[in-house]
């Protein structure tokens, strides 16, 4: 399956942790369809623990009981997803999302449920049972739901085939698989088996690997087996994490391409942590959000909104529907950092990208906590001179020439689209 741009959508984790419910998903899907779909946003993804009846926050319940069918496959907790009752799984919810012109995604954990292993339940299409394929000592270090699957055991392929066939029957378009991205090389054989089952299940699905940091030396494997892979541990609304992303993005930038993107993780914008005791608005300043969007878009990271969309304020909605910005996200090629240095005591990073129609982008980041004025010369970007263009966030026109002079606030960014066709 060849894709032309990195996925854009919404994911329930940053707001609802392990406890999102059907009503919330539908309400965010409605909002997306109305306000964001015209700009390219399309995926609605239900994150972790949808099979856990007792989930109530972002904390996990170790060893808790989960909803599972007779073939060792997790199914939605009907108390949280009422439309799934009667063995319908996520089909009704996916149908609804599709009816809005959007796509539907779910989160899974690598492996087979521990409770399946302890009950020794069946595997569809095999006479082996759960205990036969569980991999001894392969567990997730932060969640007790699953044992890893031993790819070399008979029955392992049938198990993975069976879960993706189930998801295909539900109409799933996107699978975020957790506890796998940074578990290489130990769990590489399971990753390959899982990817093969997904790609042969009869329905196109994006495969997203989590959590990071991914291993740079495995870049070609990630490209082969998946569509996106997390280059960072969980990203949240802290400047230190955003600052650190520049170094990660620099290392991974050449690995973005058709159908495969390094993933900078979700965008913690707007209302976050709605399942916490203290509900909170993003702690990022507006300038930091601009910096985040500029970096994610120029490197073509997948864009997955983390906030509760129905509570968006004007700034957030405007930021996420900036057409020129999203055009860069779609069209950028050859993204890379050109330089990073101190200018008059301020740490500055310069990134560039091209498009395939002769346009180019210059993104200037002020990583310091004071505003600064930066000059970028055409020599820096190895062009004879800069074409006419404009700054993406302000819309202000730029008259081509040898120098861009930008005054940039603390933690802020300016991105110039130069010679980019409308």
């Amino acid at each position: 399956m060849a894709l032309k741009k990195a996925p854009m959508g919404w994911n329930s984790w940053d707001c609802y942790g392990a406890a999102v419910d059907e009503k919330t998903v539908r309400q965010n899907a409605d909002y997306m369809a109305k306000y964001l779909k015209p700009y390219g946003w399309e995926y609605v993804v239900v994150d972790i623990q949808w099979y856990e009846p007792a989930a109530e926050s972002n904390e996990y319940h170790p060893f808790t009981d989960m909803c599972m069918d007779e073939y060792s496959r997790m199914i939605p907790a009907p108390g949280r997803f009422p439309s799934s009752k009667g063995g319908k799984g996520f089909k009704p919810l996916a149908d609804y999302v599709h009816s809005l012109g959007l796509k539907f995604g779910i989160h899974i954990m690598r492996g087979i449920p521990r409770q399946a292993v302890h009950k020794n339940t069946k595997i569809l299409g095999s006479n082996k049972t759960a205990r036969d394929i569980a991999k001894t000592a392969s567990i997730c270090h932060w969640n007790t739901d699953m044992y890893g699957v031993d790819a070399f055991k008979e029955g392992a392929k049938e198990y993975y085939d069976s879960i993706f066939k189930l998801y295909a029957s539900w109409g799933v378009d996107f699978v975020k698989c957790d506890d796998i991205c940074r578990e290489l090389p130990h769990e590489e054989s399971e990753l390959v088996l899982l990817s093969n089952s997904l790609h042969n299940c009869g329905r196109d699905m994006i495969l997203s690997l989590s959590p990071g940091p991914a291993l740079l030396e495995k870049s070609e494997l990630y490209k082969e087996v998946s569509n996106m892979w997390r280059i960072t541990d969980d990203f949240w609304d802290k400047w230190e994490l955003l600052y650190a992303m520049f170094e990660r993005a620099e290392k991974w930038c050449t690995h973005a391409g058709n159908g495969h993107w390094p993933d900078c993780d979700m965008l913690p914008v707007g209302a976050l942590r709605q399942c916490y005791d203290e509900k909170e608005w993003t702690k990022f300043t507006e300038d930091e959000q601009i910096t985040m969007m500029a970096l994610w878009c120029i490197v073509r990271s997948p864009l997955m909104i983390g906030g509760e969309m129905t509570k968006f304020d004007d700034f957030t909605l405007k930021l996420l529907t900036n057409k020129a910005l999203l055009k860069m996200h779609s069209d950028a090629r050859n993204s890379h950092q050109v330089l990073r240095k101190e200018i008059a005591g301020k740490e500055v990073a310069l990134w560039t990208a091209t498009d395939v129609e002769g346009g180019m982008y210059a993104a200037i980041f002020n990583l310091s906590n004071k505003s600064c004025t930066v000059k970028v010369e055409s020599d820096d970007l190895e062009v004879a001179s800069f074409a006419n263009g404009f700054e993406i966030f302000t819309g202000k026109a730029f008259k081509g020439g040898d120098v861009i002079t930008a005054k940039i606030p603390a933690h802020g960014a300016a991105v110039y689209a130069l010679g980019v066709k409308e």
Copy 2:
């Protein structure tokens, strides 16, 4: 509890793996009582998986069902230990062993049964249940029976108290606790909790920690909480492992003392691997067995026989009932390596020890694969001259003086008792 010498006994693992049964234990106890007890041998230890009905060899059965009481405590599999039926546990077998004038030991795994966690069974003396005290992600890497216990959780102390009270009621004298010795510092709090429960259970029990290699920097902790701790991974009848033990013994020798001994692991002598497809006699040569016994005894390692005793040949029985050798095991003090070097192309190690009555020992090891003649001078051992004495394995008299000259076969040893009182 103050002990005067390191434990001596028999352990079922080297012969019967996970599958020993009551009949075998009784038959070995009978043999020990008759032939070995007079020499100080006294412990009869049932090793791993006595709670697993389906055990049949040295291989584990991942995720298999186990015998457990309502309070999450493992109990003997009645098919393998018939006298345990009706909730009697190991009491009848321990009573039998005691009736022979011997002591009874069992193996346990650190933690709480995974099946208790999945069934969420009760904990005696607490309103918490198994899931409440299991430690997420603390598992054994080679056995699937247990989850670690989180020492900081309410109910954890009650659980450990409850198992040792049960063992006390059975009459257990010795507990070999597995998956703990080398798991420091991660599982240190669980080790301390377990040790406290054992020492407060109302019955004296030896606490033996496994598997190794133990961590030298934790030597003082091992001394505090246990009586013996494995300084090596599993030891078997291979020269390479015996050769490697010299270096381990050198590092640990100063840590043997009253009630606490570095443990070189079981003695793979005689008939081994009786539960394997190929039953086998020890692959050690007689000289290698002499070397092993000489090293274990001079450093005062616990002595746990690994072979099926009823099949002992004359050599083995004689080796294990060598009075002078076992006197050194009992009386040695200040054991340490004096030198290790090449003499005429042969690698030689010289060890020494004293006793508290003015006697001394000199153990000469030929670590090369050719016989060699070694001269030890009184200057080497910093005495004015050597007292009269004898060589321990041959019984040959040594007339005191300035030099010991010993011809030692390949992989062999000679041990001189000098000025040692009868």
Copy 3:
């Protein structure tokens, strides 16, 4: 000083080791002026030990006597460089090279001569002497000529100023500084001091840092202080080294830019090792040389010929004067590896680059030791379709479309120039 393309030239090391002489330099300069200058080749660089009278091969003479002026500065050995007699230094030779329309370069070792320190000679422009600025314990690990200079000592700046002023007076255009590139962070202050002196000496000089591998985490520093830096230890005519360069090039490719280039080291082509007992022709096959040139050119590495030019055969001369290839070396932007994977058991790498006039390059490498046929689709390179073009080494036309199909010999390469203007 802004440069538009990476330096191209000749360096004496691969043929003459530590022992090149003036006659040889002149003869190669003559050849370059006649046959290579029209294609952009211009630097003639005298490598290491030009100040050592006794040099005779590629081996160093530890602690040997060297030619030095009264101010602790190395000067050419007059026996090897006759025109330097009478204190003229390299001025006459540089003048000659300039008279041919070429540029002149020399090699230096970081630091101050050990013999200056032992004689405690003067420093021009300072009342400090050699011992005052030598850095204790900072020595080169493979050459005994120098002590490092302690940048924090008075007199250090004057010393470095004095040597670059001398080189400027000689007419030096290029300085290859050794024992410094991979010596970070220990010698960072000396590197910065040295770079400042060079850039303030009154004459434009390229600064080339050696030996590698350079440290990726210091990439921004290299860009700031130098023009090129070695990303590898010495490169020679062995396939293993060429194979390994792909991984190095992948890591460094985004760091090439205006005036600063990661350096893949000299090109061991044609007649090599003329100062060795066994003179030898390059051991690279023709296909391997094509692969080398394709990689060096697409990543814009500096190109420094290692072979004796007057002995070039037709293949070598043609390879080094391939106009389309050298145009890619000059014009490539955004070079990076797109993928690397096994196709039918053959390991293949795909690289791409653009130019600033709408053209693009696709370089396909066969890293296996059997020939193979590779298909590259326009989707792989994220373009709607490929423009018309040609293969650079064969000159064969390519008619645009969705697929490039290339049959590539073992260890060989094919490079397509697509939509590139003449």
Copy 4:
């Protein structure tokens, strides 16, 4: 050469750094002969840089000129050692020391003088010269006097033979060789060569290796080639360093024996740093000095006084002439730490040793900064009961029994001699 006890003496470093002179040495020798010789003190050692005319403090003068004979051998600076004039070397001073009934020692640096290499001077007994045997890139990291000698080069043996023959002709009894102990394995061949030359020079000399920390895995090598080796970097009068010595001593204690002793470094007692701007008295409290002496003596470390002896106060002199303490230093065998733990919040260490006449020692250290009362039971030391005896520092009698109860001040120690014959 078999030795019966570890060397005891005085070394000039702690007081006079690189700058000791003949007058000072003679004055300390006089003091030792009068006040300390009766207690076993005998070595007078001239530490580093005796060949440097300009030495004036504890700081080194990088690359400075040194006194050397025509055969590349350092000789005493006559300005500092007037009796050495006329090529007499240290012979007159050694003769004087010998006339007092004492022994004479010197410090050397591993290798051959750098100035010999630069002047390329001769080697006695060889037609090779200094440059031929210097080892490229083998230098000391904290002193610029020497290059290492390449043991595999012709002339290397002759050089080392020639220096030890010179020292033998002077009457040297003790050689402290620096820049070698912790330089293994790199400089192992030079160490072996040097040791062989020393042991074949025709005069008995102690070989002391510096600086530490020595490598535990090379313990057998140190024993073979030397008499003492530093187990620590330079030791000074700081509690942190004394505290840290307990762990070092524990690791090395079994390696003390006849003619070979792990070395805890000099004793910084009394007046120190007499060549510094600020002359200072030791910063150790009296209790800390007792702790130091107790530890050094029970492990049989060499004892080398660091302070200016003529300024000793009563406490210091009494401490260094405590007969019972020095008897333990002489007679202790089997020294080792028995336990180290917290008792009521105070960190305590218990050491023991035996002698060869049935006596034993128990040393109790209070490593905390508050006084504490410690009970040691006979079980702790594995004896039936304690014999009669006395505390070594107070002289207070101890009536034998099952328990020793000692109140020990902060950072202090109590050492019991039990059943030790007069």
